[in-house]
Subunit: 195 residues, 2 copies
């Protein structure tokens, strides 16, 4: 491994966040999943939860290519909502959905510097009732236009970058957030990811 | 027109912004253009500039369907950069590009509540040298991941929603921003847009 490559990996790992994740519930289109993963990588999210209760388990999102974000993320796959939430709750005290509901608050009212898991639902039916009941709240991305149609990759990117902005202000990218064990384990794995 | 529809149009027009626009320079993929237009509509941008110096003039982006954002935007098309900038400069004192350059500042350092035009470039080659020379500055969306690949629709949405956030804080959605003449002209046009 070149020094440059080692420095790149160290720099990225030193900015990976241990308190922000994304849950994709029955998101169908692989392009949407890839786009969400790129946004996760871009803001320093390390792990994401892929929950498929209604659609077949996804293939590996091109994880073999080093230009694929999947190669640099830890992806947990579940086919059972309760199991997914049991795991999720071990690390994330707050779980928020993007379901459109009367008690939804604006994205810009959230404190995203606190540990939180953000759930995005199926392209057509949104987040399921089951998840909404298990979650702690809903938020919406405000829209003031004639049409309502931010797609999931855009909605997720806008949300994650608002988290980035808040976490940046809170100093979350200024010092290592991963535990040392996770840091080293990822470092060893990423060393072998090189083409 | 139903009262509900009239109220919707009035509500949207009352939030349209007169001091924020997007310039798309040689953006090739119609899906990207549509996605950018949806984001524009969503944050209350009324007019966008489509500049094609290298690729054929675009068709009408499905503007016939009321679910298309193009139907609710004022789209100016140019094939000449100077002409485009002459028009642009009449309304927008500041023009910023997203070109990756050493003097680029972070999106989050910009004051987007001031009048500004934001230029997004071709999917492969980015914003042209010609535009960079004519513009007032560059900005980047910070990325802390292993791969660098926010696509244009995501980059544009993240940028426009940061503008939304700042403009919301500055009270720009609390009172009509369009001149009364523009407001009425759009109202009359939108009345006829109904299916």
């Amino acid at each position: 491994m070149t020094d440059e490559r080692r420095q790149k990996i160290e720099s990225v790992l030193s900015k990976r966040q241990n308190d922000l994740t994304v849950v994709l519930e029955n998101v169908f289109d692989p392009h949407n999943i890839s786009a969400v993963m790129r946004s996760c990588d871009a803001v320093g999210i390390q792990e994401i939860y892929v929950l498929n209760t209604k659609i077949p388990r996804h293939k590996k999102w091109g994880a073999r290519s080093s230009s694929s974000a999947a190669k640099w993320l830890t992806v947990y796959q579940f086919e059972n909502t309760e199991e997914c939430f049991t795991e999720l709750r071990k690390k994330y005290p707050t779980v928020l959905t993007t379901h459109l509901s009367s008690d939804a608050v604006s994205l810009y009212q959230l404190n995203l510097a606190n540990p939180v898991a953000l759930v995005f639902g199926n392209e057509h039916s949104g987040v399921s009732e089951e998840i909404i009941k298990l979650a702690d709240g809903n938020f919406i991305i405000p829209q003031v236009g004639m049409i309502r149609s931010l797609d999931i990759s855009v909605a997720c990117a806008v949300t994650l970058y608002e988290a980035y902005r808040q976490k940046q202000q809170a100093g979350h990218y200024h010092q290592q957030r991963l535990g040392q064990e996770d840091y080293l384990s990822l470092f060893n794995k990423w060393e072998l990811n090189l083409d």
